[in-house]
Amino acid sequence: MPDSKVLGQNYPRVDAADKVSGRSQYASDIYLPGMLMCKVLQSPKPHARILHIDTSRAQNLPGVRAVITGRDVPDARFGNGAVKDKRLFALDKVRYIG
């Protein structure tokens, strides 16, 4: 087999030096000025109608910039593959815990 610069050679990973130095940025390592942090409320019920979501206590907490529910983005859908119409946030009904 002819000599190759690539085949059969030992190459260190191109990003290994950064990873072993702690320099690689993973998603939770990114800090941007003015960055907001969000917290997701997941449904505690496996199958239930959403009658009303009272966001007043959350909105009144100091530092809270926004509280978003399904009502705010009723038409937002996402998905790929077989299912293309998943809702961003549950609207009217929850179908599983989480």
Partner: protein, 159 residues
Amino acid sequence: MPHPVHLTINAEPYTLLVEPYCSLLDMLRDELQLTGTKKGCDEGDCGACTVLMNGKTVTSCMVLAMDARDQDITTVEGLRQGNTLHPVQAAFVQYGGVQCGFCTPGLIMSGVGLLLENQQPTEEEVRFAIGGNLCRCTGYSKVVQAILKAAETMQAQTS
């Protein structure tokens, strides 16, 4: 209510204000942006948050920042000297001990901590020393090999 904490991190003195419930991990990552140390489980099980406190490995998510007062902390960022990697870091690169890399800082700190106490570990001793570090990618064998090779390199350097 925030309290002052004075400590040494990677040979630099720091004085910070932290809440009493703040973990050393959160202080390193959020207050100092030393994000090399990772938060995996935040409950002392995965080892991704491993740092050295006075030369001993600790899971920093389980150490209160205030309990690190006056202590000497080494994180993964403190190992590299300019462009020169620590022998354990270099061995991880050379021997393929890194894949996604998320557990890597913790594994490296465990390796460094072991070699501070035991310069000629057996394979079994290496495996025991990294027993608190979970890795989903590598299957550990190249990590163990890297730490053993690093031990050889460091022995050769001192003799």
